[in-house]
């Protein structure tokens, strides 16, 4: 794939690098990279890969641009508010570099579409914000033999690894299993805006290295970054012989969606309460009101909470467990149901009888019961 005069001018600084040169730039032009998640990580990764002349870039995201995204998602500006991210991102990248082809995939990745989508790309950059998507992408990459450059962030901390099927471990070798709700996401925990800028540009760096064949990729190594201490650390990660997807006797041979949430998803001893069921419990004449424990951070609680709810942030719960009546069927509440489920598990462990989790948290309460309830 030869370079045009325009391209030679645009990529002059790459052409001057002996390690890249015209040959490397032509490989970049021929490369097809799929970016999963046009968020904090996907934004800088996409911008730098577009600027670098990556010939085909796919952007997968089914969300729309929200004002709270703009603190870190530098692919979008204020004028893009409410637009589909995949399309707004495509327009921004096309404006940055008209020499490349950008494809907007405004869809939710599912087991049913992931194979067909990945088939058109050589390499995947994962910056999604759900563990279920991370496993789906990993499994599809292993099954289709696609390299995967994966990063994740939380508050001031980031992780990065490159997985090349057949050459090292996969994401499941590192974390065999995890469920959304066990780990707080950015919306719940907050994130330093510039943090995904560091990790996303490292993902773009790894992509360019893999495409051009220069340097040593981050295979078999996990890189962690602590922004508060400005510290990078590296850990060796081995392939697991018993890995469910890349091991010797794989049990995952097709991409699969996570199990739909159902009554079986709640651990033994934890009751699940829908917003409507909680409303019925709180109705006048329904009997004694159970203790309501709101485990969100104080600033979230102050934005809006149920009048009966007491605020014990999740982090303080182990020390303040004595405040919770043991036999009254305490109900735990958070923003979307993840932290409150962890609170239920801690309460069970501390001897609280049949704690209940408000499914979907205050977000679901506002959606199904009280639309006037402000939720931070």
């Amino acid at each position: 794939m030869t370079l045009s005069a325009n391209e030679r001018a645009r990529y002059q600084r790459h052409l001057s690098l002996r390690e890249i040169g015209a040959e490397g730039q032509e490989k970049l032009k021929a490369a097809r990279v799929l970016i999963v998640g046009a968020g904090g990580l996907g934004s800088p990764a996409a911008l730098y890969l577009a600027a670098a002349g990556c010939g085909t870039l796919g952007l997968v995201d089914f969300d729309r641009v929200d004002v709270s995204n703009l603190q870190r998602q530098v692919l979008f500006d204020t004028a893009a508010l409410e637009q589909p991210k995949a399309e707004a991102g495509r327009a921004r990248l096309a404006a940055l570099n008209p020499e490349i082809r950008v494809v907007a995939h405004a869809l939710e990745l599912k087991a049913a579409n992931v194979r067909a989508l990945l088939a058109d790309y050589d390499l995947v950059v994962d910056g999604s914000d759900r563990l279920s998507t991370r496993y789906l992408v990993n499994d599809a990459c292993v099954l289709l033999g696609r390299p995967l450059i994966s990063a994740a962030i939380h508050r001031f901390e980031g992780q990065l690894a490159t997985y090349v099927p057949g050459r090292g471990p996969c994401y499941r070798c590192l974390f065999p299993q995890a469920a959304d709700g066990m780990v707080a996401n950015c919306a719940e925990a907050g994130v330093l805006g510039v943090l995904p800028g560091v990790l996303g540009t490292l993902q773009a760096t790894e992509a360019i290295k893999l495409i051009t064949g220069v340097g040593t990729p981050l295979v078999g190594r996990l890189l962690t970054y602590d922004a508060l201490e400005l510290r990078f650390q590296e850990f060796r990660v081995e392939r697991r012989r018993d890995c469910a997807v890349c091991g010797e006797a794989p049990t995952i041979t097709e991409p699969r969606d996570p199990p739909a949430p159902g009554p079986q998803a709640a651990p033994d001893g934890v009751r699940r309460l829908t917003p409507r069921a909680l409303q019925a419990l709180l109705a006048p004449g329904a009997g004694a009101t159970p203790p309501l424990i709101d485990v969100r951070e104080p600033w979230e609680y102050d934005t809006g909470h149920l009048p009966e709810a007491v605020n014990i942030p999740l982090g303080e719960l182990p020390q303040r467990m004595a405040e919770i009546p043991r036999a009254a069927g305490a109900v735990f509440i958070c923003r979307s149901g993840g932290r409150s489920m962890r609170a239920c598990l801690l309460a069970l462990q501390a001897g609280v009888a049949s704690p209940a989790n408000l499914e979907g948290g205050m977000t679901a309460w506002a959606g199904e019961v009280d639309p006037t309830m402000p939720v931070a």
Binding site: G40, R155, A189
Partner: protein, 88 residues
């Protein structure tokens, strides 16, 4: 035997925000038991009821992964608690 323990950010709520704490013990199990004394509830986030490391948590001693709680910890080692992160 004293070591340094670096705590993944999703568990900082147990350590009053500290990302680095001191640990004592000759094995990983002893170090985690020591942490549990001072930071109640933190061990359960890493280790399940069958004493297995939870599949979304990884423990490293210096840069090497420790898959067993019997793994020895030497004075001056750093134990790293790493958690699967979902944010993007």
């Amino acid at each position: 035997m004293s070591c340094t323990v670096r705590i993944a950010s999703p568990l900082h709520s147990y350590t009053a925000g500290a990302s680095r704490v001191e640990g004592r013990g000759a094995t990983l199990a002893e170090v985690l038991g020591d942490l549990e004394q001072r930071f109640p509830g933190i061990r359960f986030r890493m280790i399940d009821e069958q004493d297995r490391i939870r599949p979304h948590m990884r423990l490293f001693i210096n840069s090497q992964e420790a898959r067993e709680l019997t793994t020895p910890v030497r004075g001056g080692d750093t134990v790293h608690v790493i958690c699967a992160l979902s944010g993007g």
